[in-house]
């Protein structure tokens, strides 16, 4: 018989071209699964990145808040310190036992007859030793008493020495109760 048929050729031929059939059967499913897997992975990564980003933002905000708190605190401290300094300075200016002021006043108001031998400073008192005319000394003391009302001025030593009198003048800071 001259007719020859072979079913195997069709099998092997379609086996080579069955890629389309295979794709048709499994392609959609595999692509869908691939999409699901990659999509899940991307969503997970995105979520993770967003969470980390949020955390970083919160941390930065916290740091900024801390810094601002610190800044305010420092500003407050600076203000307080400044006020303290101002108050100290003003207090010092208003202090009746402020030596420089006293000395300025002494030098300005010292009578002509009076000569000072020594000026001694301690924490709470100022001692002047010198000589001069009695009435000028006393007037000088009265003027200073009027000027420095919170300073008690005493003359513990007063003696005549020819025409002039030698003296010791003590400036004492009065207690607060006495001030008020």
């Amino acid at each position: 018989m001259h007719i020859k048929l072979d079913l195997l050729q069709s099998h092997s031929r379609s086996g080579k071209t069955s890629l389309y059939t295979t794709f048709k059967r499994w392609g959609f499913l595999s692509f869908f699964l691939l999409f699901i897997v990659t999509g899940t992975f991307a969503a997970y990564n995105f979520h993770r990145d967003v969470t980390e980003f949020d955390k970083a933002i919160l941390l930065k905000r916290k740091r900024i808040r801390n810094l601002s708190t610190l800044h305010n605190k420092l500003e407050q401290e600076q203000l307080e310190l400044r006020e303290k300094c101002i108050s100290i300075l003003s207090l010092m200016r208003r202090d009746p036992f402020h030596y420089s002021y006293i000395l300025d006043y002494l030098l300005c108001s010292i009578p002509d007859s009076v000569t000072l031998d020594s000026i001694t400073f301690t924490d709470s008192k100022l001692l002047l030793i010198g000589e001069g005319k009695v009435d000028e000394i006393l007037n000088w003391r009265n003027d200073m008493s009027a000027e420095f009302r919170y300073i008690k001025i005493e003359i513990p030593y007063f003696s005549k020495k020819e025409k002039m009198h030698s003296f010791k003048m003590k400036f004492l800071l009065m207690a607060k109760e006495e001030k008020s």
Partner: protein
């Protein structure tokens, strides 16, 4: 020398056939002895009892391995193979003359319609008869089988370290064996094969056109009052594939008594059968003779 060294080794075409029948697996191997064709080896094994073909993979592998070992078939040999007749659709279809693309589509549609399966699930081969000049239709011999069955069969063969050189429709192999070496000696020819309670009639016209038909049949004869197959004055030769005498008598009773039964195959082919009966090996013999003309030249 270099040419012969690089020349691709041509594989020797096999003169052996392996037929997976309804109840038996049959193997036949032919060879040349003293200028005559001789049956070298014949073997048959029962198939594993199962409803679906190749359902129990290991059992099938065992059976075919047994045949391979008993027959001494070397590894990676190629065999001409065929699946059971009931698994293979074989018919000559008529189509109006049309363009090639349209004809292909028509064949696909017709095959899918007849077998009620998708085209992708089928293995297909066809032969187009020569058209006569005044003919308005083209005749196409079509063979179809399930792709799944073929795949399973090839897997089994691969496991047995064997190969299939072809997978021929068994009907065609049967006709080749029955037509004899000179092809038109016994034309027209009718072949009757049992298929369940029915009979398949394969017919070759004097022009060589093959047709296959299913006939309702029982022991009393053809069923029905009016039947076109009742007389075959143009069918002088016939062959009954099954060797049940009762059915043979029924066929003779039913069909024309003028029909002449074909001579035994070994006589027809002048085969030296070496005392081995080749009754029942018609299809396997046809498979083995597939490349007979090529090898004899």
């Amino acid at each position: 020398m270099f040419v012969s060294f690089f020349k691709k080794k041509k594989r020797k075409m096999p003169l052996s056939g392996l037929y997976i029948g309804n109840n038996w697996i049959r193997y036949i191997s032919l060879g040349w002895e003293g200028g005559y064709l001789a049956v070298q080896k014949v073997c048959k094994k029962t198939i594993p009892r199962e409803n679906l073909l190749f359902k129990t993979f290991d059992d099938w592998v065992t059976r075919i391995k047994e045949i391979k070992n008993e027959m001494g078939i070397p590894h990676n040999s190629l065999l001409n193979c065929a699946l059971p007749i009931r698994e293979t659709y074989f018919e000559t279809l008529k189509f109006p003359i049309m363009q090639r693309n349209e004809l292909e589509k028509s064949i696909r549609w017709e095959c899918q319609r007849r077998l009620k399966k998708k085209w992708e699930d089928l293995c297909f081969d066809s032969y187009c008869y020569k058209e006569q000049e005044d003919s308005s239709e083209s005749l196409l011999l079509v063979a179809l089988t399930s792709r799944k069955t073929v795949s399973k069969f090839l897997k089994i063969l691969k496991r047995c370290k064997l190969g299939a050189s072809c997978l021929e429709p068994p009907q065609l192999a049967l006709l080749r064996g029955l037509q004899g070496p000179y092809q038109d000696d016994y034309l027209p020819l009718s072949v009757f094969c049992p298929k369940g309670n029915n009979v398949i009639k394969i017919y070759i016209s004097p022009e060589g056109v093959i047709s296959s038909e299913l006939i309702d049949f029982d022991e009393e004869g053809l069923l029905g009052d009016e039947n076109p197959y009742y007389s075959f004055p143009e069918n002088p030769h016939w062959f009954w594939v099954s060797h049940a005498l009762k059915d043979k008598k029924a066929i003779l009773k039913t069909f024309s008594t003028n029909m002449r039964e074909l001579p035994p195959l070994q006589n027809m082919w002048s085969l030296d059968d070496k005392g081995q009966s080749i009754v029942g090996y018609e299809i396997a013999l046809g498979l083995a003779l597939r490349d007979f003309l090529c090898t004899s030249n």
